[in-house]
Symmetry: C2
Subunit: 141 residues, 2 copies
C-alpha cells in the first residue's frame, strides 16, 4: 500500500493524483514548486520502477512541466530527482523566474521555506484546474 | 547542426555518444558527474523535444543511472535538468555517496570544481567501456 514519506507529508500540501503519481505542492511560496511521487512501494531510484511506470512518470513529469510553463509564466523549469534526504522516489518540477529568490542557483537549501496562506493555495488549485488533464483527480487536504 | 554550448564545452570532458545524447563528464573529481546533451538544436525544455526524442532521452538517462549505480558504487543517483545558467537542454546524472564532499546537499555551487588528471579520466573511460551498451560510441577529446 502506498504511504507518503513523513517528511514529504510535513513539507507539502496535497493537490491530487495523476494515474501514477501523487502531486504535491511544496509549502514554500518562494517558488511554485511541485513534487510528483509515484504511488509505488519501496522505490528510491528511477530504474527500480518497471518500464511502463518509468514511461508514465516521464509522461506525467513532462506534461506537468509544459502546463506550468504557460500557466505560471516560467522563465525555466527545473526538473530533478535527488532523494539524498528523503529516499522515497520523488520528482521536483519547479517553476523558476529570473527574479525569484534563488535565481540562477538551484532552490534547495537556498532560502528558508515561506509557508503559504490558505488563499494562496486555493489560487494555485484554481489555476491548476484550468490546465491539468482530465485524468487528474484533485484531492483535498 | 548540433553545437555544444561553450560553457558546457569548457567545464566538461567528452566521453561519447548515445543514439540521441552526447555524454560528457563534468571536470570535477569531487563526484562522478555525467551530463547528457540531446544532439538537437535550440532546445531548452524537455517538452520542446518531440515525443520520440523525449522517450529516448528518458531511456538513455535511466539506463545510464542504472549502470553507474553498480559500476561507481553509488548510494544515490541525482538526476536533474535545471538550465538556469546554460539554457541548452542537458541532463545531469550524478553519482552520490554518503561520504562525498557535498552530501546530502545537491552538488551545484557547493564546492569549487577539482579538475581531473589524465589518468583519472582514463580510468573512468575504462570503467564505462565495461558497462555502456553496444549502441554507445566513445569519442576522444
Amino acid at each position: 500500500m502506498f504511504a507518503l514519506d513523513s517528511r514529504l507529508q510535513q513539507d507539502t500540501l496535497t493537490i491530487g493524483d495523476f494515474p501514477l503519481c501523487r502531486l504535491l505542492l511544496s509549502n514554500d511560496s518562494n517558488y511554485p514548486w511541485f513534487i510528483l511521487v509515484p504511488r509505488r512501494d519501496d522505490i528510491s531510484e528511477l530504474f527500480q520502477l518497471d518500464v511502463a511506470d518509468q514511461q508514465q512518470l516521464w509522461q506525467e513529469t513532462t506534461a506537468l512541466a509544459e502546463v506550468l510553463k504557460d500557466s505560471f509564466d516560467a522563465d525555466k523549469l527545473n526538473v530533478a530527482t535527488l532523494g539524498n534526504v528523503v529516499s522515497q522516489l520523488h520528482m521536483h518540477v519547479i517553476v523558476r523566474k529570473r527574479d525569484d529568490a534563488a535565481w540562477p542557483a538551484p532552490v534547495w537549501g537556498k532560502h528558508p521555506a515561506k509557508p503559504y496562506v490558505a488563499d494562496q493555495v486555493e489560487a494555485i488549485r484554481e489555476r491548476l484546474r484550468l490546465v491539468l488533464p482530465a485524468d487528474f483527480t484533485f484531492l483535498e487536504g
